[in-house]
């Protein structure tokens, strides 16, 4: 069986090439999907959405009432958070509003963050988080950052709560899990922009809609983690719960959730980081804040301002990541008993925080500098960065341009043409064949139907552009990432640094990656590719290094004992056994590339991502969803085929 495999592949590929080269004149419909037969799914969806808004009714109230109700409910906590952090509590509305209570003084916010850091992780965390927030104040990003923070403060806790509740429900009722799981899988692969379109359509433009979009985006991972961690609770603990006579409710809240606390906390960190990522992106539907600053700067091509806002996002991301990680650790480990008596002694942090807020607020009425960071002390690096960019462009314009053009002419464009010329029917058949060889009939059906979906909804051409950008980016990211992974895997100190770097890179919202690429190469496919590569290189490094590090040291020893050279150990033992992991890394690289690709629509690509982006600007739900689903289809095909390939490889290596 195993040695017949290549022959079957060769035959299939041969048939495909013959079909591609010679079938054109006889079967033009196989090359370009006939327009007359395109299913107008997008229009149907849009019509359905319109019906929902205009006519759908649940008897007592209409669908619009429902969406308005949800907005109104979410608006309350958001208003409180944003009033506290940025606008102050207002009387009246619009420009005639009068501030009755000012927002928290910036010093108080920094102080609170430092107190939180100290409580969760001691002095070093207090200093780090304080420094990150001080950075926001000093570089004039305070107001925007506080708006972003307010959205996260509303969205993240709600995401955790909803995720946990859904997770518990799915854990308790198997049928619900069976419904939810495929949905979660799909939601994970649909690009973020695609979420925004229906949200925009249903909830309008503004911070509340952005919070809703953020919730929709950040909750699924929490559901997944909740289900997984509840399932991971040992059977004996469940038996114990029954044996001591727990009711269902006691079982859930007294046994299961506390026993799963440690892994649930990991979910909390994820929700917070995803919320940050999404709040930035949701600036497109009115979240405001730092994301909007980046977006506005991109539109103006004002690199300095964009980069500054980008740095602010990075500072915020680092602070939130470290704080939530420390919180996860602190809250999941049992706390040493606090033997102190009296409210004062038992809640020192709470009291210190309250005192800080009161004192600084009171002082703020006398000394304005305490309330708002004095403008005179603000540093702006905006002009500096603009000048740097200008300098680079003046001095290296030709070099950069040459690199860009060489890549475009020799790699990007030929590959794009090649993919564009392929017959959709042949590609679909080939994917079906690959699915069959790697995963049997079920996979074959999936890998045939998904490309078919793309073709019949009329997305084939744009899908090929997506594929070309994603493919090239993934290849380049792998070409960079895999060697770095190999190099650092066997050097512990290098690996520690590399790991720190990729961990930090991964906490950054994807928006941030656009700025430097645009600065150097302006808009276009090449710029998009650079941003995608920068974003997608992390998993390639991580999985390669982890795969190599996981190789059993006894095998390396055995290799040494047989007299292998270092090179032979690397190529014959390490890389061979790490292959499945590297394949998974490739898979992740592709997923990352796809999710970033959509965002690069902002720098003028012409793929499915752009389609979603256009749909967003037009609030065209159908168009956005269909394009989003097509991207999801590409992601799912790649994911399933590569995963099946990895399993194949593991079996062949005897690892399974």
């Amino acid at each position: 069986m195993a040695n017949r495999l290549p022959l079957a592949w060769l035959l299939a590929l041969g048939a495909f090439v013959i079909f591609w080269l010679f079938a054109g004149p006889y079967l033009p419909a196989a090359f370009e999907y006939p327009k007359a037969h395109v299913i107008k799914l997008a229009k149907w969806i849009s019509a359905a959405m319109k019906w929902l808004i205009d006519e759908a009714s649940f008897g007592l109230f209409s669908f619009t009432d429902l969406t308005r109700f949800i907005s109104a409910v979410l608006d309350v906590p958001y208003t409180v958070a944003s009033s506290l952090l940025s606008t102050g509590f207002l009387e009246g509305s619009g420009s005639s509003a009068i501030q009755i209570v000012p927002p928290l003084p910036w010093i108080a916010v920094i102080g609170l963050v430092m107190l939180l850091g100290h409580w969760l992780g001691g002095r070093s965390l207090a200093l780090l988080s304080g420094a990150c927030f001080l950075f926001l104040a000093v570089f004039g990003q305070w107001t925007s950052a506080m708006i972003t923070l307010a959205s996260i403060l509303v969205a993240a806790p709600l995401g955790v709560i909803f995720g946990l509740l859904f997770g518990i429900a799915a854990w308790r009722w198997r049928w619900l899990e069976r419904i939810i799981m495929p949905l979660l899988d799909l939601m994970q692969t649909i690009p973020v922009f695609a979420y925004l379109v229906p949200v925009l359509f249903l909830f309008g433009f503004g911070p509340t809609a952005a919070v809703i979009a953020t919730l929709i985006f950040a909750t699924p991972p929490m559901i997944r983690i909740a289900i997984l961690s509840l399932r991971a609770v040992p059977d004996e603990i469940i038996d114990l719960g029954h044996m001591v006579g727990c009711t269902d409710r006691q079982m859930t809240w007294r046994v299961m959730v506390p026993a799963a606390r440690e892994s649930l906390m990991v979910g909390m960190n994820q929700v917070i980081m995803l919320s940050l990522n999404m709040v930035i992106i949701a600036s497109m539907i009115g979240a405001g804040g730092l994301g909007f600053d980046v977006l506005a700067a991109l539109r103006r091509l004002d690199f300095g301002a964009g980069l500054e806002a980008g740095f602010a996002i990075v500072a915020l991301a680092i602070a939130m990541d470290r704080l939530s990680q420390a919180a996860a650790e602190k809250l999941s480990a049992p706390s040493p008993e606090n033997r102190a008596t009296g409210f004062l002694a038992r809640h020192p942090y709470l009291l210190a925080g309250l005192a800080l807020v009161l004192v600084t607020s009171a002082l703020g009425y006398m000394i304005p500098a305490i309330r708002t960071y004095p403008e005179a002390l603000q540093l702006s690096t905006g002009t500096f960065w603009s000048e740097v960019v200008a300098w680079i462009n003046v001095n290296f314009f030709d070099t950069l341009e040459a690199i860009k053009n060489a890549m475009l002419l020799n790699v990007l464009i030929p590959f794009k043409r090649f993919l564009g010329g392929l017959p959709w029917l042949g590609v679909t058949a080939l994917l079906g064949f690959a699915g069959y060889r790697l995963g049997g009939w079920r996979l074959a059906v999936l890998t045939t139907c998904l490309p078919l979906f793309i073709a019949v909804t009329g997305q084939w051409e744009k899908a090929m552009i997506t594929l070309y950008l994603c493919g090239i980016s993934a290849v380049i990211a792998s070409l960079i990432g895999i060697p770095i992974g190999i190099y650092s895997a066997t050097r512990d100190r290098v690996w520690a640094w590399v790991q720190l770097a990729i961990d930090t890179l991964q906490t950054l919202p994807s928006f941030v990656y656009l700025m430097p690429a645009v600065m150097l190469f302006r808009v276009g496919d090449f710029t998009a590719m650079i941003a995608v590569v920068a974003f997608a290189v992390a998993p390639a490094i991580r999985y390669t290094a982890l795969g190599i590090r996981k190789v059993d040291p006894k095998l390396i020893e055995a290799g040494r004992a047989m007299g292998c050279t270092e090179w032979q150990i690397l190529t014959r033992i390490r890389l061979k056994l790490a292959l499945p992991e590297i394949l998974l890394g490739l898979n992740q690289t592709i997923m990352f590339a796809l999710s970033m690709l959509v965002i690069t629509a902002l720098v003028g690509t012409r793929d499915l991502g752009q389609e979603v982006y256009i749909a967003l600007t037009k609030a065209d739900t159908g168009r956005g969803l269909v394009a989003g689903l097509s991207i999801a289809a590409i992601a799912i095909i790649a994911d399933r085929l590569i995963s099946a390939g990895a399993i194949h490889a593991r079996r062949r290596l005897g690892l399974e």
């Binding site: 001591v244 009711t247 007294r254 506390p258 049992p334």
Partner: protein, 340 residues
């Protein structure tokens, strides 16, 4: 067959894993053969188990992994729903009672100790032990007082504030034991309580367990895969294989007359002298035996043997109350020990 002093009775209890096991069982009149089970694509985890656990005894269920012993103990407490049969606890059929009644029974009359301790990681030793009482809704003061008592009983006083992960395996299982005893259960299930411990600690815990039982006189169902442990602790043993009980009886009966070659495999390496008790080897007492040295009828022969070193030719055998019930002759002891 229901023994008047039986606390827990299993009658024709079955557990088949697979689709629609209950109706399959009914279709075969409650006694399907092994072939029929396999043919239906089911797995017979527990098959046709009849047993009764008597008041105050240590009933050991011994079997290798996959023999169904852990499933059986979970059927007894209805942690797993049986496919067929009856489980009577103090005459009440557990399989017929409502969910609420079952919770009531578990809360107040059953205790269970788990192989991997099943301690809640986020609670201190004190809170872990008090947990079953907390679930019942007992006030903090009352449950903590009770928990402290139990912690004292298992010898962990001073560790109340520790968390499970700060304790050794043996200590963790002591917490598990204290917790299961906190509700003063009438029946005490121990599911391989010492299997996860090192051999030396295991021995120590077995002694501790015997000491507790002399104080508490609980009705105990004890699961183990260790035949020596079973012999050491049991009043009666049931040996399981492939979901069935192949033999049930006192340790002596099992060692002396193994029912199948499978049971004989286990008993072969067991020293008879360590299993057979004085009262099984004794002959009728003669007048005057009460004056000489005596030995308890419960002691095994290897414990009684050293008393012969003084040169006596026989020992008086007494019951728990100290009354003479027979005599143990030197020749009988010597010949038993020589046979090994």
């Amino acid at each position: 067959m229901t023994n008047p002093e039986a606390k827990l009775v299993c009658r024709n209890v079955w557990k088949l894993f697979g689709a629609d096991a209950a109706s399959f069982l009914a279709a075969h009149g409650g006694h399907p053969g092994a072939a029929a089970i396999t043919e239906a694509g089911l797995v017979g985890a527990v098959r046709q188990v009849d047993l009764d656990v008597r008041e105050g005894e240590i009933f050991v269920i011994m079997g290798l992994s996959g023999s169904g012993k852990s499933t059986l103990v979970r059927l007894m407490s209805r942690l797993i729903e049986p496919s067929g049969g009856d489980v009577l606890f103090k005459g009440e059929n557990l399989l017929k009672v409502s969910q609420a009644r079952m919770i009531e029974i578990r809360r107040h009359q059953m205790g269970m100790v788990f192989q991997h301790f099943a301690l809640l990681p986020h609670l201190t030793v004190l809170d872990n032990v008090a947990f079953p009482l907390d679930i019942q809704g007992m006030s903090r003061a009352a449950r903590e007082a009770r928990a402290r008592e139990m912690i004292e009983l298992v010898g962990l006083a001073g560790k109340e504030r520790a968390y499970p992960r700060q304790l050794s395996g043996g200590q963790q299982q002591r917490v598990g034991i204290a917790r299961s005893l906190a509700v003063e259960p009438e029946i005490w299930f121990l599911d391989e309580p010492f299997s996860a411990l090192d051999p030396l600690i295991r021995r120590e815990m077995q002694d501790e367990f015997m000491r507790l039982q002399t104080v508490l006189h609980k009705t105990i169902v004890f699961i183990t895969h260790d035949f020596d442990e079973a012999i050491r602790l049991a009043d009666r043993i049931a040996i399981m294989k492939d979901g069935e009980i192949v033999q049930a009886g006192t340790p002596e009966e099992i060692v002396l007359t193994p029912a199948t070659s499978y049971v004989a495999e286990f008993t072969r390496s067991v020293a008879r002298a360590k299993v057979i008790r004085a009262r099984s080897l004794m002959v009728a007492a003669r007048p005057g035996d009460a004056e000489g040295p005596t030995v308890s009828g419960r002691s095994n022969i290897s414990e009684a043997a050293p008393l012969f070193l003084d040169g006596v030719s026989h020992l008086g055998v007494t019951d728990d109350a100290g009354k003479l019930i027979g005599r143990l002759e030197r020749d009988a002891v010597v010949s038993l020990m020589l046979r090994g």
